[in-house]
């Protein structure tokens, strides 16, 4: 790793890299009047560490966190790492069925979930009372990873992604070296989920390390986001996904916010007119970031100078291979079943179509080469949704595509009703992955060789018996 942070090799990294700092320094603001300073966070982490240890978690152990964004999530994660255990993050929006699948596959010894959560629609964070339960059949960690995250789905190979403490530290170090990233004493108002890599490393972990205050708005509304910015005088950066640019660009007359210095989003680019409307309205830089769960931040254009391209982050080596972007990565990040088409010979195959400019090194990303789509920053594997749907009793065939939303074309078995099919899918697939539009058809179009057609132009011509 490049110079910057010395990599500790034991759980001491949590204190050294994340928790160290002046006791009275506010590091988290999860509500306008609920600021947490470092002394408070350290005490909370110690308390959760004691609870997890009492439940049997030890160095080399494993725990799954199935918690909404909350102080409880942060405290339990840091406590697990401080014990030297491996933490599996499960998005709290997953269904019980999906959580069970993940637990069966990753076999953590303990599961921390919400016994009670204050949550409501549009809440950026929740007050959570957590519970620790032992997971039958759980095993200690069988890899050196500190963190396991699920990619766009929970089944199939190369879906469980592991990162070692050193990988996380290396990513924090990259952020330190990127011009345009907020520095100590500044604030990040984050709309990016802290369960996923951008919000977790780019917001929470980097913020803790660099002394950047992490602020979550009270609600994910435009008004609350701008109120969170206005609540402090420190230079402030917004961190989110493209939707938030669109939301904030739609504010006709935002209040003056002299402390707002920029906004950074991960994910696909917004349309040029939305970009221009945002810059015109707020007069600040609008930056874009390219990253993956496997590696974290890979490339950035934080000043909007290279749009639509990004410059590789320090230490990242990218190449184009048959139209696909590959990134140098010494070891495979995948845990369990590995698809060789995702990592081989020291290269991560991103499945992103793209190119690297031989003269400037700038990287263009031109969309996915597989069935993964991004919905509000959350990755959804359409093929997983399609397989689940096609496997339901009462379904004779299904194709799931993404236009402006996830859409399903489904052939029902004789006597089957769409209501029941939707009900069954709700049990198996998280809400954000489910089809928003349904077309019941007699027959799905196929190619001459019998393959299902996924071209939306063709699908749109298939007569529907029922359309929702």
């Amino acid at each position: 790793m490049a110079a910057g942070i010395q990599i500790p090799t034991d759980p001491g990294w949590v204190d050294e890299v994340l928790l160290a700092g002046p006791a009275g320094q506010v590091c988290l603001v999860l509500a306008e009047h609920d600021a947490v300073d470092r002394a408070g966070l350290r005490a909370l982490v110690a308390e959760r560490q004691a609870a997890l240890a009492a439940a049997g978690l030890a160095g080399g152990g494993s725990v799954a966190l199935c918690l909404p964004p909350s102080l409880a999530f942060i405290a339990n994660l840091l406590a697990a790492w401080r014990l030297g255990a491996r933490a599996v993050l499960l998005d709290h929006r997953l269904t019980a069925f999906e959580v069970d699948q993940a637990l069966e596959r990753l076999a953590p010894q303990l599961v921390v979930s919400a016994a009670h959560a204050s949550g409501g629609a549009l809440r950026a964070f929740q007050d959570v009372r957590e519970q620790i339960t032992a997971h039958p059949g759980g095993r200690p960690a069988d890899t050196p990873h500190a963190l396991i995250q699920l990619s766009s789905g929970s089944t199939g190979p190369s879906k469980a992604i592991g990162r070692c403490a050193s990988d996380l530290i290396a990513e924090i170090d990259r952020y330190l070296k990127i011009d345009g990233v907020p520095r100590g004493g500044e604030r990040i108002v984050s709309m990016a989920s802290m369960v996923h890599v951008l919000g977790l490393v780019g917001g929470l972990l980097y913020g803790l390390h660099a002394g950047v205050q992490l602020v979550l708005p009270e609600r994910m509304t435009a008004e609350a986001i701008l109120a969170a910015v206005a609540a402090g005088p420190e230079p402030t950066t917004l961190l989110g996904v493209p939707f938030h640019i669109e939301l904030l660009a739609a504010v006709a007359d935002p209040p003056p916010l002299p402390q707002l210095t920029g906004m950074t989003t991960g994910g696909e680019l917004v349309r040029a007119q939305v970009h221009d409307a945002f810059v015109d309205r707020y007069g600040i830089r609008l930056g874009n970031m390219y990253g993956m769960t496997e590696l974290g931040v890979i490339g950035t254009d934080l000043f909007g100078l290279h749009r639509p391209a990004v410059a590789p982050a320090p230490g990242m080596t990218l190449r184009e291979q048959d139209g696909e972007l590959h990134i140098a990565m010494e070891h495979s990040p995948y845990v369990g079943l590995v698809d060789p088409a995702r990592w081989s010979d020291g290269w991560l195959h991103t499945k992103d179509a793209g190119s690297v400019d031989p003269d400037t090194g700038l990287v263009r990303i031109r969309g996915r080469r597989d069935s993964q789509v991004s919905i509000g920053g959350l990755k959804v594997d359409l093929s997983e949704v399609e397989h689940t749907l096609a496997g339901l009793p009462g379904v004779d065939g299904a194709v799931v595509v993404f236009g402006k939303a996830v859409e399903a074309y489904v052939v029902l078995a004789a006597g089957a009703g769409l209501d029941r099919i939707q009900e069954l899918l709700c049990e198996r697939v998280a809400a954000y992955k489910r089809p928003r539009a349904w077309h019941v058809v007699d027959k799905l179009p196929r190619t001459a060789t019998g393959k299902l057609v996924r071209d939306q132009g063709v699908l749109a011509t298939v007569p529907s018996n029922e359309r929702i």
């Binding site: 409501g120 629609a121 549009l122 509304t221 435009a222 669109e246 939303a405 929702i468």
Partner: protein, 80 residues
């Protein structure tokens, strides 16, 4: 509880359609969390006042029909 009305429905669908440049017929009946944030903002802009409601009211706005019923209940008049 107030029932949704046709003018409310047309208005809610029109407000949702402005997100992602959709046609009204492309707006699904379900309202996801991003669309809800969008809808809240559109309501605030259209009526010129904060839409400051409790979580349980927002929780009922996860369908177009539910959002219409809430607007009618809170006395938000649908545009003619």
């Amino acid at each position: 509880m107030a029932e949704e009305s046709e003018p409310h429905r047309a208005q809610v669908v029109a407000m949702l359609a402005t997100y992602g440049e959709r046609r009204p017929e492309e707006v699904p009946e379900t309202v996801d969390s991003l669309e809800l944030a969008w809808l809240v903002h559109q309501i605030e802009q259209r009526y010129g006042k904060p839409f400051d409601v409790d979580d349980d009211v927002l929780a009922r706005m996860t369908t177009v029909g539910g959002a219409c019923a809430v607007l009618a209940e809170l006395g938000y008049e649908a545009a003619a």
